[in-house]
Symmetry: C2
Subunit: 254 residues, 2 copies
């Protein structure tokens, strides 16, 4: 099938926050990312665009494929070394406020700005089996194409809730009985390896790359111990240390 | 001082691998990154370029500053939302083969291709106190500007050794007595949380984002346990889990 001019403009618009909001769609690009999405949530895929040279190596179960010239693909793609496949995907809704969370603890991202960080945290949250992640306004749009690539399309599997700020978010946490709230801090607090209540109906907040977590009444600081000279960890690495401390504690025979 | 045309061309050439090699220099961009470098290795900084609008917020100890118009700075910068400061920096030499490593274990990156991954692993290695990281040819250039930004300039503090492939690298590991070699694998091996010899004069290899670690005779597979539906972790997250397992085991009171 031929891609219409209207579809081309639609794709280009989805690289902007405004375009994604208006059309309620987003872009998932790259072989593994699209293949993962076709496996986990095929019903969300509206159509797929494939570069001519790549059409033989595209997944079998691809949905509504449009083949375009390699030159046209480069024009529609956001990556420099494109893998010749992208999908236009329905943006899933946020989790409705009346649904009770089932996860043992809630991972919270407070104004996380970097697309790579937000994405790799979603991918890691999925890898440890969390079903949702909460975030505050001021974070990068989770359906930004870079976030989707970094997350390997995990935002279509892991649900999300968004709040104006930590105060509103923490009211909601408490309403659902997640009443121990931990702020990660690079300089102070109890060690994440020692804290006994870290994962028992709690919430753990990862903060903005430059400013950290906003202050929050009634929260407890948690520290990731380090031994080197670096001032602090990258936000996604901090989240990873904490998420895998959960897995470690649950591992059999330890 | 005025930036000469020659200096401008020099800066532009440092965004290519060839230009960095020819001039033995590289680019460190961004406020925190330059500030960190000025603190840790000021002797490596050749000169600094600052955008007019940012000159009042630049670090006090800046070296050989050239002030340029904001428009000129955008032209010289590789970032979209630049922070108005970059430094031209001498590229440190690789660690000489006759120097014996002092670290308890060696972290190895095998053909790690993504600049963000390579950089955040260097930053994390530094945070846990490693003094060097080894890598194989086929990896991204550690002095690529994106790697430097992701590493927060840690490549000027953490030393590096580079080898043609894992076979050559493992000979060198054994020569120094690092004789237990672990390959991280997403699907098989002993749990990194259970393996007792993981950090005792060993080496731990993190592999290429798409292909994993190359096969290597005499190595042992190590697995990061997961519980969710994701196929595997991002390489930088895998490295982080393992590096902080080392810190956790050394933490007092555990």
């Amino acid at each position: 099938m031929l891609l219409t001019k209207k579809q081309e403009s639609l794709i280009k618009s989805l690289y902007t926050r405004h375009g994604r909001k208006k059309n309620n769609l987003c872009i998932c690009e790259g072989k593994r990312c699209v293949a993962d999405l076709l496996m986990s949530k095929p019903e969300l895929v509206k159509f797929t665009v494939i570069a001519e040279l790549n059409q033989n190596s595209s997944p079998d179960n691809v949905i509504n494929p449009f083949i375009v010239s390699d030159r046209k693909f480069s024009e529609l793609s956001a990556t420099v070394a494109s893998q010749g496949i992208l999908a236009v995907v329905e943006r899933p809704e946020l989790i409705s406020a009346d649904i009770e969370p089932v996860d043992p603890f809630i991972l919270v991202l407070d104004r996380l700005a970097d697309p790579g960080n937000f994405g790799s945290i979603l991918r890691t949250a999925r890898a440890i089996g969390l079903t949702e992640v909460w975030y505050t306004t001021g974070s990068v749009d989770p359906f930004n194409d870079k976030v989707i690539r970094a997350a390997m399309a995990s935002q279509f599997v892991v649900g999300m809730r968004c709040f104006a700020n930590l105060k509103e978010l923490s009211c909601e946490l408490r309403r659902f009985g997640y009443d121990k709230i931990f702020r990660t801090d690079p300089h102070q607090g109890e060690s994440c390896f020692a804290s006994e209540e870290l994962f028992s109906h709690s919430a753990i907040i990862i903060g903005n790359e430059a400013d950290g977590v906003a202050s929050l009444d009634g929260s407890v600081d948690i520290l990731i111990p380090m031994s080197g000279s670096a001032e602090s960890l990258n936000a996604a690495q901090a989240a990873t240390v904490i998420l895998f401390e959960y897995i470690r504690r649950r591992s059999p025979g330890l």
